[in-house]
Symmetry: D2
């Protein structure tokens, strides 16, 4: 499906609409097949012991899939997550950013489905896998 926003437009949208997230997450690359977003890991994402918290990875997956949908339907739409499944598979590397790669598998009239693999930057094995369904409100 054709893209209607590029990665710069998505980052500008993030700064305007979600300023508290814009300092943490940034779209790195975007093409027809895949969007890659970076979580700039800082103290607020860590659990005691230095590991990245599950909710921080969930939040990264959520915003990544959301942005990949907006790249295809534009920022007018008010999509909301209806279902999310996440598998935590490995411990992230300490002191590394996370990179989330998203594919949109379905973009229907009312539902969209995407999945994400999250890796520590520079690592090959994924730390988490997530799939989400978004409900897309009817056009006015």
């Amino acid at each position: 499906m054709a893209l209607v926003m590029n990665h710069e437009a998505l980052n500008e949208f993030l700064e305007r609409a979600f300023p508290q997230i814009a300092g943490q997450v940034r779209v790195e690359t975007l093409d027809d097949m895949q969007l890659t977003a970076r979580l700039m890991v800082s103290e607020q994402h860590l659990r005691p012991g230095g590991t990245i918290s599950g909710p921080a990875m969930f939040a990264l997956a959520d915003v990544t899939i959301y942005l990949a949908i907006l790249a295809r339907i534009g920022e007018v739409a008010l999509a909301v997550t209806t279902n999310a499944t996440i598998d935590f598979m490995r411990k992230p590397e300490a002191g590394c950013d996370l990179l989330a790669e998203c594919r949109i598998l379905k973009l229907g009239r009312i539902l969209a489905v995407g999945d994400v693999l999250i890796r520590s930057e520079g690592a090959e094995e994924p730390v988490a896998r997530c799939s989400m369904t978004y409900s897309i409100p009817p056009k006015r």
Copy 2:
């Protein structure tokens, strides 16, 4: 399964081990069948427009199931979430705390499964439903 910690011991554990969460979440009630936890909703849990964010609800479900497991195996164990599925079903009431009710459905030697219904305080219809699997490390 018999409880080895009561709700006060769980709240003390939370303050000691997860001080950043202890100010947000509190165990309200606990018996053999169910643990109820409260998310004291504040600015940090909100999205633009005043709705509670998905990651905040995910984090509430996660800590609630974690505490319900610890209530049965004690705080020595280092359980980690391996899988989580969450359905976001309704918009939470503005300006209300969230209450999460957890059941432990399985507590095996290596895996535990629990589920949670989250409601706005005073409301009957659930805003979210979540189930999670925890991996329980072997005893040393």
Copy 3:
């Protein structure tokens, strides 16, 4: 939400619309809160070793939630499963039917969510837990 079909009407519907399933699954009880369905376990549901197969339990959960939705919206609707999550938690008892208890957690205009606990007849501990989302087509 008020019921528009009782358990006999659901069983008649099953025989008429899904004759191949009607011989395997039967609605036992139905009220505002819960629908209970029975899987009459036979050779076709078993794996080598005599255990009930995962797909057989998935199919039971699927038809149980479907019938609980129809009980509320009537058999005119053509609801389809869009998402399903199942946790297999224990081995079913050999030679026992399975009982599936379903709650409808949300019945919206376009999406419905239900969950199910499956037990071996006479056993207390659940063998599986499942939640599903159904898409409900618009009324003509």
Copy 4:
């Protein structure tokens, strides 16, 4: 991770251990990255109206991930599904076989995670997406 069984050995295993499934599912290709399996669609997989049933797609995903794990650990192991999530995204093409492509995302000492995309043969868009966790019993 290195393969210890090739696709012919997997098909032979299927015929020997699961004769009732061997007539329905066949491994087509296998390499380090991916296993592809075919569901030879027949009457037994169809719902009224000719669409392939959800449980038939669930069963295909289940056996595909199971075989991809065995390809890496050998047929001695008795792996069991503990969690499965499936998204049904499109209606399969009538009269077409289904092809399931599986990646193993984690193969740990006690848990393995894989995901699957299912397509109608010759089609590009996936009809379903599934991820599963398997529990791997300790070696004796």
